[in-house]
């Protein structure tokens, strides 16, 4: 069966006053119907831009994209504006990071939900409103009949994100892109929103691309994982494979820095330094300035994204030899397991 979304060698660059920023370089992935892909990485590594490019929501004045974004075989990068509008919000929908700013402050929730319905169907206002009420109930807004005519500022952050999710799913899209949907929320609300997304994903059967910098979220929700660093994919594969045999030092860093409730530590492990500026990315492997396994060739030569010998669905881009990688991964996993046990 053909994949729902197939992205091939996607590149997006922005013209800025300081020069060209290559925010996404050669990213390829596929999402099958009903599956969840987690995209992980630190801030500014190109996760969001990748997804905005899929929906062509980057500002065309500054951004140019090449490659292919095949949605059911149709290349969205070359699709016409009107075709794109048919797809947006109807077949591919998006939930954004910050629910506080993503809703229009001067319209009621109902009006914004009804707009989403009526943009894609001939439903009457009454029908659209009924649909909006159904969705508000589905996302767990208490007393939706009363809340539907409230304005965004009358809702809490978690409730607004629920409404955003309701708005994204109101036309039963085949693909939902969730761009760090819980980052702006407090921890207890985060868990609720994630559970809601998971439940609704099962109910609606939508495929999901979940952008996050939290590997814990990925472990709970995703089928496949893609780890991005400085505009490039460094490791991708099925979630069990990535968590059981991580093969890239950056993935190790992300896993090692996960906070745990069941282990008492003085300080969390961290990856030293910060992600590089995409205006002037480092030579060779882009992670080399922060990598504790750096070798001479890492500085000169960029590692290719290669399949693992034992698992062809799992790919990684690192010069380290296989033995070292297996050993280090095993050490890291046992350390995490030991932390959990103590």
């Amino acid at each position: 069966m053909a994949p729902l979304l197939e992205v091939r060698d996607l590149r997006t660059e922005f013209a800025t006053d300081d020069g060209i920023v290559r925010a996404v370089e050669g990213v390829s992935f596929t999402v099958n119907s009903g599956q969840v892909l987690g995209i992980v990485g630190e801030s500014g590594c190109g996760k969001s831009v990748t997804c905005l490019t899929v929906m062509r929501l980057n500002d065309p004045k500054f951004a140019t994209s090449t490659g292919e974004v095949l949605f059911r075989g149709e290349n969205l990068l070359t699709a016409s504006g009107s075709r794109l509008r048919e797809i947006r919000g109807n077949e591919i929908a998006m939930v954004f990071q910050d629910p506080m700013t993503s809703l229009n402050p001067v319209y009621t929730m109902g009006k914004q939900l009804i707009e989403a319905v009526q943009l894609h169907s001939d439903a009457s206002k009454k029908q659209a409103r009924r649909r909006a009420l159904e969705m508000l109930k589905a996302v767990g807004i208490p007393r939706p009949e009363r809340r539907i005519d409230d304005y965004p500022h009358q809702f809490s952050g978690g409730m607004r994100q629920r409404v955003m999710i309701a708005m994204a799913l109101i036309n039963s899209p085949d693909l939902l892109i969730a761009d760090e949907p819980t980052t702006a929320l407090d921890v207890t609300t985060q868990a609720q929103i994630l559970r809601l997304l998971k439940d609704l994903q099962r109910e609606f059967g939508s495929a999901v691309i979940m952008i996050t910098h939290d590997l814990g979220v990925v472990a709970e929700t995703a089928d496949d994982v893609m780890v991005m660093y400085a505009a490039k994919v460094v490791e991708q594969g099925p979630v069990e494979s990535i968590f059981n045999q991580p093969r890239h030092p950056y993935t190790w860093g992300l896993m090692g820095s996960l906070p745990r409730l069941d282990a008492i530590v003085e300080r969390l492990d961290q990856i030293p330094g910060q992600p590089p500026s995409l205006l002037r990315p480092p030579s060779g492997c882009r992670f080399h300035p922060r990598c504790s396994y750096v070798m001479a060739q890492c500085i000169d030569r960029e590692p290719a994204l290669l399949q693992l010998a034992e698992d062809e669905t799992h790919r990684q881009a690192c010069h380290l030899d296989e033995d070292t990688k297996s050993r280090e991964a095993a050490a890291l996993l046992s350390k995490i397991a030991a932390g959990a046990a103590s």
Partner: protein, 310 residues
């Protein structure tokens, strides 16, 4: 409070001026005795705080602003005659300002750095830098005198046209107001173009605009329903405050075009040390500002759901 402060300051400033209104009112050939008599008649022999108290008492008890020092006409009547002239100027010009600045501001926000945007920028600089009276005089000379398309100056009443007046009625009124409207509009619209452009540009970067696009809204719908609706909210404040401010008298433009509005009235009363009339104009201006600020606040409660009267 504002009202008391405004009237009090006007009084103090007036009494700091080393001139005797009574001498002017009494005429050039008046004897010192005669001048003293006039002083007593006008109440100018009293200390200024007594005069101020009398003024307030009269205003509060009778609603009267007093009488002109010069011709004994009630100040209320002077203002009643001059205010409609200024109001026609201000409201007409404001309408023109919006007709000019809305399309230019929005279009240059949609295409920043385009030719239109740069041309608009040049216009804005001209509008902000050039004094209104110079623009007025140039327009009056070029269009009124050289081309003869409009009157050079003057005002025509719409209603209650005086017998001696050579013109009157809506058409003549509008015909005479054309140049003053354009002059005032050219001056003000510059700021508005800039304001609208930056508001629209700023609003377009908001997350909810991206949400609207992600929902599949057309560019037109995104712009009108989501960007404009939010971007133009602050414009209401600007318009309200400017109308209030200008109603106190657009002095330069009234002077250039010989409009008998509040600005002209104020200038004349200053030259003639006619305190009651000047005070009347100042009070009218203050009230206009207070009223229009109130209107803006009330409007906001209606157009911005985040603000509600409790």
């Amino acid at each position: 409070m504002l009202f008391l402060a405004v009237t009090f300051v006007t009084y103090v400033i007036f009494f700091l001026v080393p001139a005797n209104p009574a001498r002017l009112a009494a005429g050039q050939s008046a004897t010192p005795e005669k001048v003293h008599e006039v002083e007593q008649f006008l109440g100018l022999d009293q200390p200024f705080y007594v005069q101020y108290y009398r003024f307030l008492k009269r205003l509060v008890l009778e609603g009267s602003l007093g009488q002109s020092f010069l011709n004994r006409r009630p100040v209320n009547q002077e203002i009643y005659q001059a205010a409609p002239v200024t109001a026609s100027l201000v409201f007409g010009a404001m309408l023109l300002v919006l007709c000019i600045s809305l399309p230019i501001g929005i279009l240059s926000a949609l295409r920043p750095r385009s030719l239109l945007d740069r041309a608009a920028m040049v216009y804005v600089l001209i509008g902000i830098s050039l004094p209104s009276f110079w623009i007025g005089l140039m327009l009056s000379y070029a269009i009124g005198y050289r081309l003869g398309l409009t009157p050079v100056a003057g005002y025509c009443e719409v209603f209650s046209v005086p017998e001696a007046s050579p013109c009157g009625g809506v058409f003549d009124w509008g015909y005479h107001m054309l140049l003053p409207w354009f002059t005032l509009a050219i001056v003000i619209a510059g700021t508005y173009v800039r304001f609208i452009r930056s508001e629209v540009l700023e609003t377009m970067t908001h997350d909810y605009v991206r949400t609207a696009r992600a929902k599949g809204g057309s560019e037109k719908r995104v712009m009108t329903a989501h960007v404009m609706r939010n971007a133009l909210l602050p414009l209401v404040t600007l318009i309200g405050l400017d109308i209030g401010l200008l109603l106190g008298g657009a002095i330069f433009i009234e002077a250039v075009f010989g409009l008998p509005g509040l600005g002209t009235t104020a200038v004349n009363s200053i030259f003639q040390y006619d305190l009651p009339v000047l005070q009347g104009v100042v009070i009218f201006g203050a009230i206009a500002i207070i009223i229009f600020t109130l209107i803006v606040d009330l409007l906001y409660a209606w157009i911005d759901p985040r603000i509600r009267l409790t």
